[in-house]
Symmetry: C2
Subunit: 263 residues, 2 copies
């Protein structure tokens, strides 16, 4: 039989309703869904007809796991009409999409990519802190704090820098940023579980960024540094805090949400 099609769908970084309408429509048509561990279990309700396969389980090496996912994608596409490969955030950013596209191309299987909301944008939305700012914030850099080999990398490349998967090495990240020329009073906004109801945000300066590890420890964490980390203050009139938006941040200020913001 003719092989089916694989659609990579970005689930967004948090709650199920951050997926796009197009992504939800592909899920509703899927025969099989291969899913990572970090996505919201509530997404399953969008594809009750499909067989769901969790490929995010730990316990063996990353390379083995990737080869196993590639092989399973190919096998499922050969047996079904539509296979959805559901990835947290956006598939094109830090999602190992390249490896899976290469394997499918080698097997002669057609594919499509449906984009999604990436964690940096969810963190900016959660904290109401635009990544670009008038005059001072023209460029944004997105990077992981750690390389594949475990080396930490940080520089001064853009007005706003966002680091993914930064939770475990906040002290080292702060030191690397200071070595790269960022002043120690540079604002840093740390958000863990961005896009989820239990998201947590805290405000720091590079000088005290290490302290955020205690607060966010063990949770998926995004760190925004520079222009886009600053709280947006009211221009004249009542304070932002009174208006229900975050006011200018004191160093170390913590914002937690036990529940989603007012619907």
């Amino acid at each position: 039989m003719t092989a089916g099609r694989v659609v990579f769908v970005g689930a967004g970084p948090g709650e199920a309703d951050l997926i796009t309408l197009r992504g939800a429509r592909r899920l509703a048509e899927a025969d099989v869904v291969l899913v990572d561990a970090l996505t919201d279990p509530a997404l399953r309700a969008m594809a009750p007809q499909a067989r769901w396969i969790d490929v995010g389980k730990r316990g063996y090496g990353a390379a083995t796991r990737q080869a196993a996912i590639d092989a399973m994608l190919i096998a499922q596409a050969r047996a079904h009409r539509l296979v959805v490969r559901l990835k947290g955030g956006d598939p094109s950013l830090f999602g190992r999409l390249e490896e899976e596209l290469q394997a499918l191309a080698a097997a002669g299987i057609a594919c499509e990519v449906v984009p999604g909301v990436t964690a940096a944008l969810a963190a900016a939305a959660d904290t109401r802190r635009p990544l670009t700012r008038r005059g001072s914030g023209r460029s944004v850099s997105l990077a992981t704090a750690m390389t594949r080999t475990g080396a930490l990398q940080a520089g001064r490349h853009a007005d706003t820098e966002v680091f993914y998967m930064a939770g475990r090495q906040l002290g080292a990240l702060a030191r690397a940023l200071r070595r790269a020329g960022w002043p120690e009073d540079t604002p840093a906004s740390v958000v863990s579980r961005a896009g989820w109801p239990d998201r947590l945000a805290s405000d720091h300066r590079l000088a005290d960024l290490a302290a955020a590890a205690l607060l966010h420890g063990g949770r998926p964490t995004v760190v925004t540094v520079g222009a886009g980390a600053q709280a947006v203050a009211a221009v004249d009139g009542p304070s932002a805090a009174e208006a229900g938006t975050d006011g200018p941040a004191a160093a170390g200020a913590v914002h937690g949400w036990a529940h989603a913001p007012a619907p």
Copy 2:
């Protein structure tokens, strides 16, 4: 009466179904929607109950227009329960969100931000070219090619650089990138109308990037340079082109879609 609430919603960069489920839900609850010119008119079907106000019209200066939008947001929030401010792409990236948040904070009006898919991610999805790559593509920079004052800026900041609103100065952008140290054979992927059915993509090297202006002239254009601009090739097996994915790009290759890809 108590002022209502303003929800900034990212509509995504193209067709209406690139909005998130959460964004669509807010639209369905809105009393008023303030919308930019670039968003898909089909979004109106998601909020037939609301009054739609187009604030994207041209004809007067940017500063006047922004002040008028700020004033209208405040006036509408004071008269209604829920005002949606619908922006193309994601509100936190190149969306002038800061100005509108400041104005609302000054007026004591509560707000929420619902993130969206940004054009760089839609362009990557349309061309099936992940912005991050194994080994060679760890960081991504997002910037506008032009500053507010009309100056062109380009550097070499990340493994993959994406420029928004770059359609009119592709030759100048290529020259600036070469001055910043990018080799003239660096791959560049140009996508206009990313996320729309009539999107158009072409492959270049910096040396011939200027030629893309003819093809994409007058259309909203995203330019991706570096690691993430390279087509993903099959690893062994049949060529990617046979598999329905783009093969390795010849310089100047053009990919057009008269219609949306197979649903």
